[in-house]
């Protein structure tokens, strides 16, 4: 199988996993933040990073990112409730913070924004090491209103850091639509930092993946940061329980018609990468994997008091 075909299948697989995660978790937990409709950005970004690269994902898609980097799905799902089997044994939540052991820097608080700066710092570390490492930061369009976006991009530009910033632009921050969230387009902010900006169709997983990989390659060559505006739409509510009635159903339907999974499936078929039977097989396999992981996670135990570790707040103890 050609390299390209392998990549396309892997991208599809990750999109399917992302959607299955939404379905399975969303049914169990009204507080879950689905990435419905945004799977192309999730898969396009998180597939294909190198070992040693730093990944700083958006919270929406964090479990998929952790999974793509090699995390065990059952343990990741155990982190939704803080089970003892999760990567932090229940000390923290997996839906906003992936395991650091996979090179992931997640959200260690509820505050959106600072992770872009952590990504710049991870890129600075990579630059000091000079072994071609990069950092990839993904963030929401709403998050782009935070001053952290500005400080991180400017710092990265001035220090010529190997970091790629991708806006998972789903046109909403909770109920706030783009028009009320930001003047101008996110992509147009790149020029103000002297950084290349690229608008991509965020419903086309290949377009996203190629853009991200292109920017990463450029960063690896020492040519500095880039900003990608991956334009898509949040088809679901902000949370699983959010009816999202602050926008028209026509708008939602219009975007549903551009479903990234359907689009890529059509391409796989038309380019002869997979036939209908193989596609169905893939779907079934992913579905079974996610469901099995969820069953395991749900039956796992909660942590005991030994996990609390009031004397383990500092590295080195006390």
């Amino acid at each position: 199988m050609s390299n390209r075909n392998e990549t396309w299948i892997a991208l599809h697989r990750l999109m399917l996993a992302t959607r299955e995660l939404d379905r399975v978790i969303g049914a169990a937990d009204g507080h879950w933040h689905p990435a419905l409709g945004e799977e192309a950005v999730v898969a396009g970004c998180y597939h294909g990073l190198r070992q040693g690269d730093a990944l700083v994902p958006h919270y929406r898609g964090m479990i998929a990112a952790s999974y793509a980097r090699g995390g065990d799905l059952a343990r990741l799902l155990a982190g939704l409730e803080g089970k003892a089997t999760s990567y932090t044994r229940g000390r923290y939540r997996s839906d906003v913070c992936g395991p650091i052991e996979f090179g992931i820097i997640g959200l260690y608080s509820g505050a959106l924004g600072p992770t872009l700066e952590y990504a710049a710092g991870a890129a600075l570390a990579a630059k000091l090491d000079a072994r071609g490492g990069v950092a990839l930061a993904v963030f929401g369009d709403g998050t782009a209103s935070r001053g952290n976006f500005h400080e991180a991009l400017n710092l990265a530009a001035v220090l010529c850091l190997p970091v790629v910033f991708v806006c998972q632009n789903n046109q909403f921050a909770i109920s706030t639509s783009s028009a009320r969230e930001h003047g101008g387009r996110i992509v147009d902010r790149a020029a103000g930092f002297g950084v290349p900006g690229q608008l991509v169709d965020g419903n086309d997983v290949v377009a996203v993946h190629d853009a991200v990989q292109g920017a990463i390659a450029r960063a690896r060559r020492g040519e500095g940061p880039a900003l990608i505006d991956a334009f898509t739409y949040r088809v679901g509510g902000h949370m699983a329980s959010d009816p999202g009635n602050y926008r028209s159903s026509e708008e939602v339907e219009k975007w549903k018609a551009r479903d990234p999974i359907a689009l890529h499936e059509a391409r796989l078929l038309s380019e002869g990468v997979l036939d209908a039977a193989k596609i169905a097989e893939l779907r079934a396999a992913v579905s079974a994997e996610v469901e099995a992981a969820m069953r395991k996670a749900q039956s796992d135990p909660m942590p005991g008091p030994e996990v609390l570790g009031l004397d383990r707040v500092f590295a080195g103890g006390v």
């Binding site: 000390r91 959106l112 709403g142």
Partner: protein, 325 residues
């Protein structure tokens, strides 16, 4: 008389002030049509429209800063920053700058700004951090934290009418909980007056926010052991009602300070230190502090529960205070 939750009472108080004074407006994330997280602003947009109930981008520093600017120009802005967990994003504008302006301008600048924030361990999992001590450390800004719906209404109205910046804290565990009878008419609870919620001779228990109810539960359990605690609901950390605290300790000779905020350098330390300095002659026993230990709030529900003071922890603190002196 209306029976209202704390959420309803706060919104009702804001609405009354917005009706009274055209200079009052509110801004924040998702407070318009969406009604605010946990319905923190439910109904305001419908009544007052988008000009006075302003949805903003995710720019906490920007909107608190804009609140300071609008307040300096004579408005009475309310800024809803969603969660107290984001206090670190606005401290410069709200506290360092906003708190200093009146004094530094030799009394000419006024910053009648209310910043609202939800916090606390409760049914909503996350965003529980209580960092109010940071603001209490700064001059020129008040800190209010109601323990019940009636006070919440009266205190939010007082906060809006205050000519100083006020950090107004809404505990998520109390938010949609029990309903209180709220008297009709213009109830205003002055900022800086602690309330006696249980009289007792043995130990003064100083509590605030969600800890008040837990102290009351502890008080009932302790009464059965023959220990009568006196509970003060502090209501404000700034201004601090030193008189009521000291006069209660003068009577009981013992004090336990209860706090959901982390213990080290929390505002409970200030209360204990104040009494150790100004009320030492009354003290018969060590001043106890029952507080959340200094640890990042763990996520698993059962771990989380272990660190937040409950009625048992409070009662244990009281028993320790009774064991000496």
């Amino acid at each position: 008389m209306a029976r209202q939750t704390m959420q309803q009472a706060v919104v009702a108080g804001i609405a009354e002030e917005m009706r009274r004074d055209a200079g009052v407006f509110i801004m924040g994330l998702d407070i318009g049509q969406f009604g605010g997280p946990l319905n923190s602003c439910k109904g305001l947009w419908e009544e007052f429209g988008a000009a006075r109930v302003i949805d903003t981008p995710i720019s906490e520093g920007g909107i608190v800063g804009a609140g300071v600017g609008a307040a300096l120009m004579g408005k009475r802005p309310i800024v809803d920053i969603m969660f107290l967990e984001y206090l670190g994003l606005v401290l410069q504008q709200l506290g360092c700058d906003g708190g200093a302006m009146h004094y530094y301008s030799d009394g000419k600048a006024r910053v009648p700004l209310v910043v609202r924030a939800k916090f606390g361990v409760g049914p909503y999992h996350g965003h529980a951090y209580d960092y109010h001590a940071w603001v209490a450390h700064l001059p020129g800004i008040k800190v209010a934290m109601p323990s019940n719906a009636r006070d919440a209404k009266g205190m939010v109205k007082a906060a809006i009418r205050d000519d100083n910046p006020v950090l107004f804290l809404e505990h998520m565990g109390l938010y949609h909980g029990t309903r209180d009878e709220i008297p009709e008419g213009d109830i205003v609870v002055p900022l800086g007056e602690a309330k006696l919620v249980r009289a007792g001779r043995d130990v003064t228990v100083v509590a605030i926010g969600a800890m008040v109810r837990r102290a009351q539960l502890a008080g009932e359990a302790l009464a059965e052991e023959g220990v009568e605690i006196e509970i003060l609901d502090l209501r404000c950390i700034v201004p601090l009602d030193k008189e009521r605290i000291l006069s209660s300790v003068a009577k009981t000779g013992r004090m336990v300070v209860v706090s959901e905020a982390m213990k080290f350098c929390g505002s409970g330390a200030e209360i204990a230190a104040m009494v150790a300095e100004e009320g030492f002659r009354f003290l018969k026993a060590p001043i106890g502090r029952v507080a959340t230990p200094n640890v990042p709030i763990p996520f698993a529900r059962n771990l989380e529960k272990m660190i937040i003071p409950d009625e048992n922890a409070i009662a244990a603190g009281v028993r320790r205070a009774m064991a000496t002196g």
